[in-house]
Every structure is written in C-alpha cells, then in structure tokens.
Symmetry: C2
Subunit: 482 residues, 2 copies
C-alpha cells in the first residue's frame, strides 16, 4: 500500500533560511520524531512540490540534503524511502512498521477510493463524484436551534444503552411507522452510519466463506466490509426495474447465499428504483426460499418527483428483511447516525458486537438526532432539499443532453444523487478519472462498483455547487468527446 | 448465545383486559411483527415477571395462552422458545435468524460482560464495577457552554478528513506536548474511543495467528478485538511495579510477538503504576529487540496524589510506541472521542480502515472535543474530578479496612478508578458476582481480566455515589465474610 503523507507545512519566504532548507528540516524532524519511519515511501517530487507549494527544483535540493545526511534513500525502481541506516545511528533491529501495514487482516481501500478520500480535501477540487449533500444544503440553521436546546437541557455525557438512546429509537420507530414499517424501539439499533451497520452484520451474522447476493453494479463493491469478513459477493444482473427477480431462484440454488443486499430505492450507483412488481416478487421469493434480505434505505427520503414504492420491510410478511436507514445522505454526513431494524435476536447480537467495537454511537450525536426528529425538522428540511436537488439535477441533465448526446448514455434519476453515465465512444473510465483529476475534477470510475466495469462513471449532482457543476460537466464532456 | 430481550412494556391495571392478557397480546404482537423470531429463547419466568412488573402466576397465565395458540413451545430442557409452527401458518422454509447469530465471525461478549452491560441500565442497581465517572462528575455545565458556542458558530455537518478534524488534532498535539510527547497533527488519528482504536489496530496491523503480549490481568482480556482478528494474547506476569521487564526477553524469544499491549499508568484492573525503572527497561528492550509497543494512556490524567512517571511515548527514542488516549475515562464516556499517535504510515493505515468501518467519528463530537481543549476546560475539570475521586477512594479504603482486614487484600490506587480486591478466604468471585447481583450490586469478577483467575474482583469507586458506595461495600464485606 502506498503511504500518502498529509503535509500541511509550507516554507516561509520571509525567513532567512532558504526554502529548500526549511523543507529539509521539516522532513528531517518528521523522521527524527519517528513519524516518518524507515521504509516509508515519500510522495513523488511532483506531489511534494504541490504540497509544499514550491518548485520542483526546491524539492530536489531538499531531497539532496536529506540524501547526504543518510536520512532517505532512492532505490533503483525510482521510489524514495526513509532509510533504515540514517534513522537510528545504533545498529539495533529496527521496527519496520511498513510490514505491519501490509499484514493486517483487513483489506485496504481500493486505490481509487484512497485517492478520492485524499483528494476530497484539496481546496481546488470540484467534487463531481461525492455522494453527499453540498455544504449549503446541510441544515446548519436547524442544528443551531438544536445546539441551543442542548445547551438548555444538558443531555447526559455518559454511555447510552447498548441499542442506543431509547428516545431516539422511539423517534425512529414512529418515523418508520409513517412509512408503514412496524418496528418497535426494542427492534432497532442505533449505529454510527450504515457503513458501520454493514460491518457489524458482516462480523456478527455471516459465516466465513458464505456468500451474499448483490446487485451489480453496487455500492457494496466499493467497501470491504464483507470481503474482510471472508464473505463472497455474488453480483446479480439488474435492469431499469431493478434486480432481475426472475433470476433469483437460480442464484439462490447455485450459491445458497446467506443474505441478499439490495438498495431498492435510488440505487447506488445506478439510480434505479426497483419496481413495485419486482419488490413483490422479491418478497415472494424470500418467503418461498427463506432468503434473508438486507435492505439499504439510505436514499429513500430523497425522492424528487414522486414517492417511491413502499420499502421491502413494509411488505415483509414475517422477518425476512433487515432494514437499514441513515441520516448521512439526507441530513448530515458528519453526524454519523444510522439504524437497523429487524428481529430482536439479530438486533441484540449486533448490539453486542457494537459494544465491543466502539461502545456505542456518540451520545451527543444521538441527542442531536433525537431533537432533529422530535422537533419536526426532518420534513421541513427534506422539502427544501428536494427543491434544490431538482434544480441541480435538471441543470446537469440539460448540459449532458447538449454536450454528450451520442457519446454517452445516462439515467434520469427520480431521486437520490447519482447519474450513472455509460461511455459509448470507448473512453476508458480510469483514463477519464485521471485526466479529470488533472483538471481538478473528481469523479468515481465505474470499476469501484463493479470490478470489471469498463465503461461507466458515477457522477453526483448533490455536492458540487451550480457553478461548479456547470464548469465540471462541460470539461468532462470535452474530455469524453476528445 | 442467550438472547436478552429488552422489555419496556408494563401492563396497565386500569384497563379492562386482565394483566396476563395484556402481556400475552404484547408478546403475540412481537411475534407477529417478526421482532421475536422462531427459535428465539424467551427470558425465564422470573425475568419476565421482573420485566413486566407482575407476579409469576400472571406470567404463567400469559405463557399458557401463547402456548395454546401455538406461538411458543417449551422443550424438555425447560427453555421456552418462539415456535416455528405458530409464527407463520404457511409451511414455508423459515429463516432461522438464531443460526445467523451463532455463525458470525466475531466472538460474542463474555456472558458476565453481557449481564453487566444489560444490568447497568436497571434503575435499582448499584454499579460498583463500572469504570466510568459518576454522572455528577461529568462536566455537564462546561458542555452547556460548549453547546452555546456551537450554536453561535454552527460547525460543519459534513464528513471530516480521514484522520479526523485538523483543529482537534492540533489541540491534541499540544495537549500531548504538555506531557513531553512530540506528535504533530499529521501523526494523530481521531477515533471513536480507544476500544475502536484497538479494533482498528487488530484489523489493520496484526496478521492472523500472530501474538500479542499483554499484562495479566488486563482489560484486554475483557474484549475480543484481538481474538476476533485471530490474534493470540499471551499474558505476562506483573507485580506492584508493573510488567516484569526482566521476563520480557524470554517472552519475546519464545513468542515473537507482533506487539506488546500495556496500560502502564493506573492499570486496568490492577491499578498498578509501572515504575520509572521498568519503563526505562521496557523501552531499552524495545530498542534492543525491535518490539512494538501499544501504550494505553486512558487513565493517566486521573492521577490523585502525584503525577505519574512520564509515558512510554515520551521516552520513545524512535517509533516503537503507538500511543492511545481517550476522553472516555476522564471527561465523557458518551462523547466517544479518542486518539492514536504514532508513525504516519500506521496512522494512515488506521485511517483507511476507519473510513471503511464507520467513515470517521461524529463531527459534532469532534467539534465539541475541540472546544473542550481550546477553551481550557480540560484542566479545570480535572482538578475538580481529582478532588471528588480522592474523597471517594478514601471512603472505600476506610470501609474496606474496617470490614475486610484479613479476609481480603487490595491495592491503594494512586489514580484511576480501580481497586483489585483479592479474596483470601476462598470465596469464589463468580459466586460473589451472582450473590451481589441478587442484592442489587454489580461488580466485575476477576475472570473477565484473566480467564483463570479464581480470587479477585474489580471494584470501581468512580461511578457509584458516596451513599451507594457506603452501602455496597458493607453488603459486599458481609457477603465475603459469610
């Protein structure tokens, strides 16, 4: 795995020491303090020049200095590493942390995902791939009111119950009841976002070497919760009506999956809504075969034109469906509040593992989320967000239609954030990803969602501003057409 | 694993339906909604009677009704389960969620720990084992000021960087500098409490089947972060000066550990402070053998009589030490904020896994923690807490000396929360645990911290109130003496 160092320091031209010397001393201190350890690969000269905001020749001078002090070394492959010799003058058996980093059980993030995670914090970047509401769509002013309320009645700073705050579970229970989902507070667990829910499910419910059915493409391919638990993912075909339920019987017979993971509403990345008919068929198949379903409802509140069909959980005749929801997509990604509703046996098991994992979600976040629901902000906020998202969606669809007709195909999302763009002219998504990044535009190549995908990118109209969207989509169109 | 259902419902004597009927209908609804699933074991009649606040005969009548409707069944072993037959009248292949719960990779919590986790929320219990500050020692009023500040400048609701809020990392960097630990913000990751830090380290740095040296007894035995990652824990002897460093060489040769986990200051559960001499020896051994050290500094701020010796990290000549800290013990358990400082390679790897696990700690909690440090509350609060803890410690030591001299031995904690009580008269800790629980007192048997321990209990003077402490220690003394 490539180490991507975070660099915040920039040399000061007003100081008497030359810039290259300041950079040399900065890196030297990093090495002497043991923060940059033997074997750690330094970023490329180009990357260092960008990070320190200097010319490449300044970087070369700094590296030369470090070289001659024996602090770094260049191998013939070209990479520069912190050297083992220079780090410690005594010849003791050095700890090589690089080995540790290579040897843990858990998969690293996909390289593209790592680059995306890192690049998102560059201030010059247009985030055309980011599946989050734009900062100006986040309900800051409602949360100010929530903080005022918190200041008045000072909620507990202690640990909450294993399932999470009972008041929050009550609020979510009635939120779910509005969607015709029967789930009492005891059958709900609060989690730190739905990514954690999947981690808990992978660790707590699925045996090693079991398999899970997944739509293909799927968000689930972009994370490693299931693979890291030794669970195999089997992609199932889908079309504009969602999962091909007609194929389900065969997939179940052949793979005996322990679970089907689905995002039936505004699927990530395809934007597809599973039709009413397919939902019914899926539930019928679950009943007929004993298939367990994990329903990810993250985007359901974000319908734009009309309410989507009832969730799978609302149609669940018994307890085939584990239902996940979250505030990350519709309200606040940073709050880290999500939930799972399902049989109490399962919920208790997940709570037991959660207690072992992080001892529960932040009580402060849970208190804020409780007020979010009980003070009625959720619905007001959604109405506002919906309006803004419709505007942004239409803008993007307009520019695409004007610039890419013939060169690409795309869905018209009825909700959620995503446009799943199919490149028709042979442009490789990975090439496009790199070239767009060079132009300061971050997008998500399709291979993140389907390892073998060769012709899709996922773009989101939620995060970038209107001005950014206009600029980025036009640049993107040029890159695709050229 | 035994399912422990959460029951909040109590029947209403003012309603026309008899109590047993209300209980029957409540359980029936749970079963019909699929929240209590086939195979789920019901709590005992006694536990149900307590939960519903009725006589056992009322419970028997309710269960009889459920039996005759075929909704539950009793096996010859005596347990009552939700029946498969009654749950769904169609004879479809039922999903047995109990099987799922048994089959995940992750270990369940120890049975005692599960009982403790559940019982802590009983309102009639005295929590003599709980390693947390009492509610009245939590800095509610300072946090009210923090919420007011948050209301004024409305922090971001978006995701934060993979390493966590830069401002918080800066604050922690200077907090560490005050303790003579050099760690720049780039070498610090924010985690949701140190339990999560250990989970990330276990998943991200340690190969399966590797081994980790641990003090014995140790808190680490009470959780399954390492075992669930397939890592073996090897207990090392300790005495009043901490880890027996003289034994280290042999343990390293024989086990080639990938890490040593230690709580050098106010160890959990023994309360021991590793002496200055042993700390020096430990670091020397690390240098000589390339041993990686994970230092858990959770209790270090809670010194009572005098400042403890410098941390291992402050003595680290290079980068042998990963250093963990947390606000859970000294400030607020519910906030869920901790940190790890170490080589950037390691910190970046942990951040990558954290992004896959829960996408970062709650930004709200991080903003509050930043203000906690930057507004200077930390030191003021610690001075207040110290005074209160000294009072409570002295009280408990007094009562123990008056009532248990000869029957038990214990340490005089110089900081932290814990008294590690050795039973000298043959009383079994597990028996004591059960008998104390029957008297409404929750304590931690030593086997949680050392599987083979037969004669210790851990009591904490931090959580229970002065009145509760007086009552509980006297009852405990009687139980031990009788």
């Amino acid at each position: 795995m490539k180490s991507v160092a975070e660099i915040r320091f920039t040399p000061d031209p007003l100081l008497p020491e030359p810039l290259y010397h300041q950079i040399k001393e900065y890196i030297k201190q990093k090495i002497m303090q043991g923060e940059w350890t033997p074997g750690m690969r330094l970023p490329s000269q180009r990357a260092l020049a960008t990070a320190f905001k200097v010319n490449r020749s300044t970087i070369i001078a700094a590296l030369d200095g470090l070289h001659s002090e024996g602090l770094i070394e260049t191998n013939y492959g070209g990479g520069t590493k912190v050297s083992r010799a220079g780090w410690n003058t005594m010849s003791t058996p050095l700890l090589n942390w690089e080995d540790y980093v290579e040897s843990g059980n858990h998969y690293p993030n996909l390289p593209e995902v790592q680059i995306i995670n890192q690049s998102e914090y560059r201030c010059d970047i247009i985030r055309l791939g980011t599946g989050e509401l734009a900062p100006d769509l986040l309900p800051q002013s409602y949360f100010q009111k929530i903080y005022e309320k918190l200041a008045q009645h000072a909620p507990s700073l202690g640990y909450l119950e294993p399932l999470g705050s009972y008041k929050l579970r009550q609020a979510i229970s009635s939120y779910l009841a509005d969607q015709q989902i029967q789930a009492s507070p005891e059958s709900i667990i609060i989690v730190s976002g739905s990514l954690q829910a999947m981690q808990l499910i992978a660790m707590g419910l699925l045996p090693r070497k079991s398999s899970v059915l997944v739509e293909k493409p799927s968000y689930l391919y972009s994370i490693h919760a299931f693979q890291s638990a030794g669970v195999r993912m089997i992609g199932m075909p889908m079309d504009k009506e969602g999962l091909l339920t007609a194929e389900l019987g065969r997939y179940i017979r052949e793979n005996r999956p322990s679970l089907l993971y689905t995002i039936p509403t505004f699927q990530n990345p395809s934007g597809v809504v599973m039709s009413d008919k397919r939902r019914t068929e899926l539930i019928q198949t679950a009943e007929a075969t004993g298939l367990a379903i994990l329903e990810d409802h993250a985007y359901a509140d974000l319908w734009l034109d009309e309410k989507p069909p009832l969730s799978l959980k609302a149609r669940d005749p018994g307890s085939y469906v584990l239902h996940m929801g979250t505030l990350s997509k519709s309200v606040s990604p940073g709050l880290r509040i999500g939930w799972v509703a399902g049989p109490e046996t399962v919920i208790q098991r997940l709570a037991d593992i959660k207690m072992q994992t992080d001892y529960g979600a932040s009580s402060l976040a849970q208190e804020a989320a409780t007020l979010w629901f009980t003070e009625g902000y959720h619905d007001i906020h959604l109405a506002e967000v919906r309006e803004a998202l419709i505007r942004k969606r239409n803008l993007v669809l307009d520019i695409l239609a004007r610039n890419l007709a013939g060169a690409a195909e795309w869905n018209v999302p009825q909700g959620g954030f995503y446009i799943w763009l199919k490149l028709l002219n042979g442009t490789r998504p990975e090439t496009l990803f790199r070239r767009a990044l060079a132009e300061g535009i971050l997008l998500n190549p399709g291979s993140i969602y389907d390892r073998f995908d060769q012709n899709h990118i996922r773009i989101s109209f939620a995060y970038a501003s209107v001005t950014e969207l206009e600029k980025a989509i036009i640049v993107l169109s040029q890159l695709i057409s050229s």
